[in-house]
């Protein structure tokens, strides 16, 4: 079942990505002020949303682990966080490229950029913490606590463009009352978000299978030691 889901998600994601790329590069006109580079928003924003949603799922899974002590939730949290860190990196890198063209600089220390970098560092720390602990239940427990703590920063990232006057553009999407994009330009963004979410989902499922196998190996090793 999971195997089939992975194939299904990846196939749909691939088809969607091809279609989106065609639309973004061949059908959409250049933006009036920014020219061609604005197209990076179709990757920058979906990657951000995917990673944020991922961190939220990781936080929920971590809380569920602490309540239920079921290691399955721990592997969900680990898998989702790992994939989300990659998408957060995509978000940071694409943003930086856009900044170089539009602002003339690769990086600026405004609230949005800084809090996102902090967010990335925190979850990279989460992955490092997991490496540093050998005992599975201790690893699950401590990393779950860290995941809940780190999520506070995700809220700061999300809200930063409203709380501070940032150099980063304010809300442009219609769901956040931004209304900064023409409807024809906004819809490919949502389709690309769906594509990225599916890529993320298939990666997470793959990673969870690995974690499941690893749990089995751990159990076998313990069993062998017991004998």
């Amino acid at each position: 079942m999971r195997e089939k889901l992975i194939y299904l998600f990846s196939a749909v994601a691939m088809a969607l990505l091809v279609w989106d790329l065609y639309r973004i590069f061949m059908m959409l006109p250049d933006e009036a002020n920014q020219g061609a580079i604005y197209r990076i928003i179709y990757f920058h924003v979906p990657a951000a949303i995917t990673s944020m949603v991922g961190f939220f799922v990781a936080m929920v899974a971590s809380a569920l682990y602490l309540i239920s002590k079921n290691l399955r939730f721990d592997s969900v949290a680990a898998a989702v966080t790992e994939v989300s860190v990659v998408f957060a990196a995509v978000n940071l890198v694409t943003g930086s490229i856009w900044g170089r063209i539009i602002w003339g600089i690769w990086w600026t220390w405004d609230a949005r950029l800084t809090s996102m970098l902090v967010c990335w560092l925190l979850y990279a720390g989460y992955l490092m913490l997991r490496r540093a602990i050998d005992e599975p239940t201790q690893r699950a427990r401590l990393s779950a606590v860290l995941s809940i703590f780190a999520f506070v920063d995700v809220i700061i990232v999300w809200k930063s463009i409203e709380w501070w006057r940032t150099q980063h553009p304010g809300p442009v999407l219609s769901i956040r009352n931004g209304g900064g994009m023409a409807p024809g330009m906004e819809s490919p963004l949502w389709w690309n978000l769906l594509a990225m979410a599916l890529v993320a989902a298939s990666l997470v499922l793959l990673r969870m299978r690995q974690e499941g196998i690893r749990r089995e190996l751990d159990a076998m090793r313990r069993h062998a030691h017991a004998i």
Binding site: G125, A132, T137, Q138, R141, A144, I148, F149, I156
Partner: protein
């Protein structure tokens, strides 16, 4: 039971709770006063960093005024990590941590007690550092002492809560000394950022403008959220 009686019981329970918290804090402070191992190290480390900063930039009045908040809080964060690192690690010898967990105090009380002790130690370091900073870098910091005290208290509590929590989290790890700074510094950034902005403003002698109040709100919010999270989760971290 009558309402009055139940109120009395609640009050008595709260008093006992606080007394146990203070017992933990008192124990930590007493052992620190007797051994002075972390405060001395932390203080001399702070002074060394203050000295090093003078080589990093031109210590003229103008530059210093612009970055005074950043300098001070970096010193506090670095020197604070020394104190916080030892907070739970010192309980490892003779299995003190296990006895503390087995004692009638709850995890939350242990956490609060340790926070209070660390807060007192960090504030001590800060009280020594600020005049030294004022002398070395010619900063007239005395004009807004009231506000400075509030900002320092809020900022230091933020450092303490995060630091104590992660000190508990990393206490049994192989790479404890490495993992603590990696986890703690990014976690503290929102609070440190607020404290830095406010301190820089206050060091110029001006009271904070209404626009600066967002940083005060950020600090207060940070303190409340992470104190609650810490109290709620410390039991899980220590006992599982």
């Amino acid at each position: 039971m009558t309402p009055a009686g139940s109120t009395a019981t609640t009050v008595r329970r709260d008093v006992i709770y606080l007394r146990q918290v203070l017992a933990i804090a008192g124990k930590d402070l007493r052992s620190e006063v007797r051994s002075k191992e972390t405060v001395n190290a932390s203080l001399s480390f702070a002074v060394v960093i203050l000295l090093l900063f003078s080589f990093a930039f031109d210590p003229s009045a103008e530059t210093v005024r612009e970055i005074s908040g950043g300098l001070l809080w970096l010193v506090f964060a670095f020197a604070g990590a020394l104190v916080l690192n030892r907070s739970f690690a010192r309980e490892l010898t003779n299995d003190c941590l296990d006895s503390l967990i087995a004692s009638p105090t709850s995890g939350g009380q242990l956490f609060l007690g340790k926070c209070i002790a660390n807060f007192v130690l960090l504030i001590t370091v800060e009280i020594v550092c600020v005049p030294v900073f004022g002398i070395f870098y010619n900063v007239a910091w005395t004009k807004q002492v009231g506000w400075l005290a509030i900002v320092f208290a809020l900022g230091t509590w933020a450092l303490t809560v995060i630091g104590t929590m992660f000190s508990a989290l990393t206490v049994n790890l192989r790479l404890r000394e490495l993992m603590l700074p990696i986890l703690v510094y990014p976690m503290m950034i929102p609070a440190i950022m607020g404290a830095i902005q406010l301190t820089t403003v206050l060091m110029t002698g001006a009271p904070p403008t209404p626009a600066d109040m967002i940083w005060v709100r950020l600090l207060v919010g940070f303190d409340i959220i992470f104190t609650i999270l810490g109290l709620g989760l410390v039991e899980t971290v220590l006992i599982g």
